[in-house]
């Protein structure tokens, strides 16, 4: 009878990781379905990035179990098929060698290649994916520039474009919007919202600015020192009580939008600093 139950797309059960003796993640669990957005939130060193890198195949967890993608153990998949399903975008895309934006985005097609010995053998479907990713991330004007010559915010746009060219089912963004200007942050969040709504992309993001996601993320996972503080709907997790656990002593206030009821987080200026 259980066979009729469809396993969650991404299921993380009690994942732990340590760098040598230092335990950086302990027994983290959550689930993610298509079209959902999960925000990982917590102070520096709380394990958010480590968790994201484990999911993205960059770090092998010291305990090698407990992560399932569509019911299959993530570590039984070969690396390339995993990269077709899950794309990790870091905070920086840089190279020591001359490389154009278009070349960098093109690399997103690597996991989709069958034969690629002497360089990528791009088919029309690959070219279309590359063009599309460059276009929706507004990188057309940059496409023939060297990534070395770009500002860090522009490089982040290129990194997201490469992640989207990978055409993943789950996109992991690790501080990938933080250096964009406000206009491009707004463009990028509305793009991501559209991909989540229309193409059922699942998204996990790490940022230090909660207001980038509180009004559209599905769920939030709050971490402190590698442990779960709270997991659930955004409105239930983003509370002044939880934030006080994450950032003790920080004067954080949570207000709620009168129309949608979504939380917003504000950092109050301490009285003695006011002029």
């Amino acid at each position: 009878m259980n066979s009729s139950i469809i396993p969650p797309m991404l299921e993380v059960v009690s994942v732990s990781h340590s760098y040598g003796p230092a335990q950086v993640l302990s027994e983290i669990s959550f689930e993610l379905e298509r079209g959902e957005v999960l925000a990982l939130y917590g102070p520096n060193g709380s394990g958010k990035s480590t968790l994201l890198k484990i999911l993205g195949g960059i770090i092998e967890p010291s305990v090698r179990s407990g992560i399932h993608f569509s019911g299959r153990d993530l570590f039984s998949l070969d690396r390339r098929s995993r990269a077709r399903s899950i794309a990790y975008v870091g905070a920086e895309l840089r190279s020591e060698f001359p490389m154009t934006v278009e070349q960098a985005v093109t690399q997103g097609r690597l996991p989709h290649q069958r034969e690629y010995a002497f360089g990528l053998n791009l088919k029309e479907i690959d070219r279309a994916a590359i063009r599309h990713a460059i276009e929706i991330c507004q990188c057309e004007a940059l496409s023939h520039r060297l990534i070395q010559s770009l500002s860090s915010g522009e490089r982040q746009r290129v990194a997201v474009a490469r992640g989207l060219a990978q055409q993943p089912k789950v996109l992991l963004l690790d501080e990938s919007l933080g250096r964009m200007d406000l206009q491009h942050q707004a463009m990028m969040t509305s793009l991501l919202r559209r991909l989540v709504a229309e193409e059922k992309l699942a998204l996990i993001l790490v940022t230090h600015d909660p207001n980038l996601w509180t009004d559209w993320a599905t769920r939030a996972l709050l971490l402190s020192a590698g442990r779960k503080v709270s997991w659930g709907l955004v409105a239930d997790t983003i509370t002044e009580g939880n934030l006080a656990v994450l950032y003790p002593g920080a004067p954080l206030r949570v207000t709620h939008s009168s129309s949608s009821g979504k939380p917003k987080v504000f950092l109050e200026t301490p009285p003695e600093v006011r002029s």
Partner: protein, 309 residues
């Protein structure tokens, strides 16, 4: 671009066969002395330049070159030890001793790379340290030896193509081409490493396996080059950087281009070494270093000025 590279290659090769430290145009001189020399210099130049290009990518470090991994010091040590036992009388003897030295050092390096806790910088540092150990032992061995016994080895350390012989040169060329092809076939994975290790991992590349394979193949390649022609510096550093400026960094295009220009530069340097002070010859390593070092400084200063942060 290819047309230019191939034409320059052919012209350099022809000039290398036609001109030498003597004006002789006898068939025996052209066929038995100069042609093998041109062939060997092409094999060595292509091998060194490709090793440099690929090591730079694999270690994400533009300053890497074949000698950074210390394998050449191993070859040098082998050759110096071999020469005190009278092996420098034959091409095969000194080459063989050099290759054994290179093989021992690259096995040590591979052994280190197999350890799970050694990362990219650990491996690079191990190579540099092996290099120091090797060159110190060379100095120690020379200090303790009879000076006349190590004369051949000293010449060889500065780059020496005079030992080229018909069969040996062709064998070196074939081995060099096969190893270069095997590196070239990994182009797409190498491209993914251009934006760093994390980036390659997120694209599904098995970075550890790739790095191990490339270090293994390049150490064989360097072993062939160093044992065939001694220490020829700067080709592995300068040629890849220059070629990247015109061909870009993607390895599918870069590696064959680097191989051709590497071959041209060592053939050309050897031609200069044979001709400028006729009838005396300069060590070819001196020529590549004297041309290569200023060229590299120029590139570095230009890049520092041009790169924006």
């Amino acid at each position: 671009m290819w047309l230019l590279a191939i034409s320059v290659l052919l012209v350099t090769a022809a000039a290398g066969i036609m001109f030498g430290s003597t004006n002789s145009r006898e068939w025996a001189v052209l066929w038995d002395l100069r042609l093998p020399r041109v062939i060997l210099s092409a094999a060595v130049g292509a091998g060194l330049a490709v090793s440099g290009a690929v090591l730079q990518a694999v270690f994400s470090n533009p300053l890497c070159e074949p000698y950074t991994l210390g394998i050449s010091s191993g070859a040098a040590l082998g050759a110096v030890i071999g020469s005190t036992f009278g092996l420098d009388l034959s091409f095969a003897g000194l080459t063989g001793a050099g290759f054994v030295g290179a093989a021992v050092f690259s096995m040590m390096l591979l052994g280190v790379s197999m350890r799970r806790n050694v990362g990219i910088f650990g491996l690079l540092l191990t190579g540099v340290m092996l290099g120091f150990i090797g060159s110190s032992l060379v100095a120690l061995w020379m200090a303790l030896s009879d000076p006349s016994g190590v004369q051949g080895a000293i010449l060889w350390l500065m780059g020496d193509l005079t030992r080229a012989r018909p069969i040996g040169a062709w064998v070196s060329l074939v081995i060099s081409v096969v190893l270069i092809m095997s590196i070239w076939s990994r182009s797409a994975d190498l491209d993914a490493l251009l934006t760093g290790e994390e980036s390659a991992l997120s694209l599904g590349v098995s970075v550890r396996t790739l790095r191990r394979a490339v270090v293994f193949i390049t150490s064989l390649l360097i072993g062939v080059c160093v044992s065939g022609a001694g220490m020829i510096g700067f080709v592995g550093l300068v040629v890849p950087h220059l070629v990247r400026r015109t061909s870009g960094s993607l390895h599918g295009r870069l590696i064959p281009m680097v191989a051709v220009w590497g071959a041209i530069s060592v053939m050309g340097a050897d031609l200069v070494a044979r001709v400028v002070l006729r009838p005396y010859e300069l060590p070819v390593g001196v020529v590549t270093a004297l041309i290569g070092a200023p060229a590299f400084l120029w590139i570095m200063l230009r890049t520092r000025g041009g790169a924006t942060e």
